[in-house]
């Protein structure tokens, strides 16, 4: 049918106009984003850029069952003055990271950021269970998140974050409840806890 052909071609053309459209498999084992190393088990998929337009270029978003159901966001090397995500809306005012931040401030920045990502007034975010954690030799923190959203399942999550050389490294996990958070949290917690800064190998002179 000619109309169908036209529509199909249109759809294809429009779709290919976007950047890479497909999810890629994440190789199990050590994955490196800049200086940050995380150890992934099997089953993760790397989301293409079009699916995560608020993500900064240095971050990666992984999912096991689909972005609406679970997402792991790995954000390395956030510099002083930068936000965790980017927004094309200047009115959004995502809070910036400051190298002098203490754990409570990292927690608040994350909470406030997630509220804005979901939409101020569409979501209520709370954080709790702030606790210290050593990411290899670097002291950092972990905490839990709960997000209540209108017309959407609720989300629960976990965050690991540490500061090295005045830069913030964060791994943020959110998954839908019921079910998806519980399904993945054990393996995610292990992944977060095992995050480390790669020791650079100094080339011999």
């Amino acid at each position: 049918m000619k109309k169908t052909a036209v529509l199909l071609a249109l759809a294809a053309a429009l779709i290919s106009a976007c950047a890479t459209m497909s999810y890629q498999s994440v190789l199990p084992g050590v994955n490196t984003l800049g200086e940050l190393q995380v150890t992934a088990d099997a089953g993760w998929n790397l989301a293409p850029a079009y699916a995560t337009p608020n993500a900064t270029s240095k971050s990666q978003t992984w999912t096991r069952d689909g972005l609406l159901l679970d997402r792991l966001i790995i954000i390395p090397a956030v510099a002083d003055g930068e936000a965790l995500f980017k927004s094309r809306d200047p009115a959004a005012a995502l809070p910036p990271f400051r190298a002098s931040m203490l754990p409570n401030e990292i927690e608040e920045m994350t909470e406030s950021t997630i509220v804005k990502l979901f939409g101020e007034g569409s979501a209520v975010v709370s954080t709790e269970n702030l606790r210290p954690w050593g990411f290899a030799e670097h002291r950092g923190v972990m905490f839990d998140i709960a997000v209540t959203v209108t017309e959407s399942p609720d989300y629960r999550g976990m965050v690991g974050a540490f500061i090295v050389g005045d830069k913030l490294y964060m791994i943020l996990f959110l998954a839908a409840t019921p079910y998806y958070y519980d399904k993945h949290i054990a393996s995610v917690e292990a992944l977060i806890k095992g995050a480390a800064i790669r020791v650079p190998t100094v080339p011999t002179a």
Partner: protein, 394 residues
């Protein structure tokens, strides 16, 4: 033209005030629909009506709906008083959203955001906003607005977006902010709502001078806003010309009901609600990082007589998160004042502790942290605080 309007105009002419450039009845418009109004059978009216009813069903289940009985009873009683004969036509929902908004749909569903409650200096002001919205409803502006949406070419689609806009519900960052202008009524409709709304307020026994004070406060808040960023679903964005309207209303209200009382007084009912729910009402405000506005509100709360310990705590939060030069000291002073007031929430001790750490005073930090844990033994961040206690001064 009826007799009352004539009298007003004669008086206005005598007083030398300029007449507004509308139909002469605008100050005296009345309800267009009777109590118990239901839609007629026109197709477009009924279809959208149904969509909004579905939305209301969803709103009833919404996680952002505030269900606390004390706040709801307070709000409900104000709405009912202002609505008068229309009380049973209005169903009011209090929604968690730090923006200033109240909106009403043609079906009688009213949404009030918690951001409105934290901005009211008195129940009169709350009544004024509610009266304004009820007037839009009884004058059928809400229905006309529905029709306007349809004539917009903008697609996007999904019914959720359309109704979200119509009911003033917020949308995620940057999405459909251009469609906010659809919420706006025309100038004449706004004036009608101002004047009819003010009359409803007076007839319900509230202070009609609150009607223009609301606009004056909106202006004050905009001025205080540091970044002039629009709030989501902002009331003032969809209700323009605040200055002009405040002036017109002030002149008219003063003429009709005499000059304002010496002082505005916050009534006990509102202050009680604020005191009992302050942390809940203000925490969403802090999350928005809109420090200029927040500071403006805190000033009002202090003036109103909200418990100073509570207000001071949020001053602390605001200064601390704003983090401008000198704010650390201001924040610490605020937390200390809050604590002296005797009703500081445990978080005041904790956040003061963190600031002591930042200002190289580990001994005081430890003391504050201990106070925090003593007052909040079930603290979920106990592990973090104990880490600092065990570490000792660094």
């Amino acid at each position: 033209m009826n007799f009352r309007a004539f009298v007003y105009f004669a008086a206005a002419a005598l007083a030398g005030m300029s007449a507004p450039a509308y139909s002469e009845d605008i100050h005296d418009v009345d309800h267009k629909i009777p109590p118990g109004y239901k839609p007629e059978e026109s197709r477009d009216e009924k279809g959208l009506w149904m969509e909004i009813e579905e939305y209301e069903l969803a709103l009833n289940k919404s996680a952002l709906l505030v269900r606390d009985p004390e706040i709801n009873n307070y709000l409900q009683s104000v709405v009912c008083r202002v609505a008068g004969d229309y009380c049973s036509d209005v169903r009011v929902y209090l929604v968690r959203n730090p923006g200033f908004n109240a909106s009403m749909t043609a079906t009688g569903m009213m949404q009030v955001w918690t951001g409105l409650l934290v901005r009211a200096s008195s129940t009169d002001e709350l009544a004024a906003v509610i009266g304004h919205e009820i007037a839009h409803y009884t004058r059928l502006h809400t229905l006309e607005r529905l029709r306007k949406l349809k004539s917009m070419a903008a697609r996007g689609s999904i019914f959720d977006l359309g109704v979200a806009i119509l009911t003033g519900y917020s949308t995620p960052i940057g999405q459909a902010s251009a469609m906010l202008n659809v919420l706006a009524f025309n100038r004449e409709q706004e004036s009608e709502a101002d004047f009819l709304g003010a009359r409803l307020v007076a007839e319900a026994g509230y202070d009609p001078h609150a009607a223009y004070r609301v606009w004056e406060k909106i202006i004050a808040e905009e001025k205080a806003a540091i970044d002039k960023r629009p709030e989501p679903g902002i009331f003032s964005k969809t209700h323009p010309d605040a200055g002009v309207r405040a002036a017109e209303l002030k002149a008219w209200v003063s003429d009709k009901w005499g000059p304002p009382d010496q002082e505005e007084t916050a009534d006990e009912a509102l202050v009680t609600v604020m005191n009992n729910h302050y942390l809940f009402l203000m925490e969403d405000m802090i999350d928005t990082n809109r420090f200029g506005r927040t500071e403006e509100l805190l000033k009002r709360h202090a003036a109103m007589g909200v418990n100073p310990s509570l207000v001071r705590y949020f001053y602390g939060e605001m200064f601390r998160q704003r983090g401008a030069d000198g704010d650390t000291e201001l924040a610490m002073a605020a937390y200390r004042h809050s604590i002296e007031g005797g009703a500081a929430p445990p978080e005041a001790y904790k956040n003061l502790g963190y600031l002591y750490l930042k200002t190289d005073n580990p001994a005081s930090a430890q003391e504050s942290f201990r106070d925090y844990l003593a007052r909040n033994p079930d603290a979920s961040d106990r592990a973090m605080i104990e880490f600092y206690l065990e570490e000792g001064p660094q």
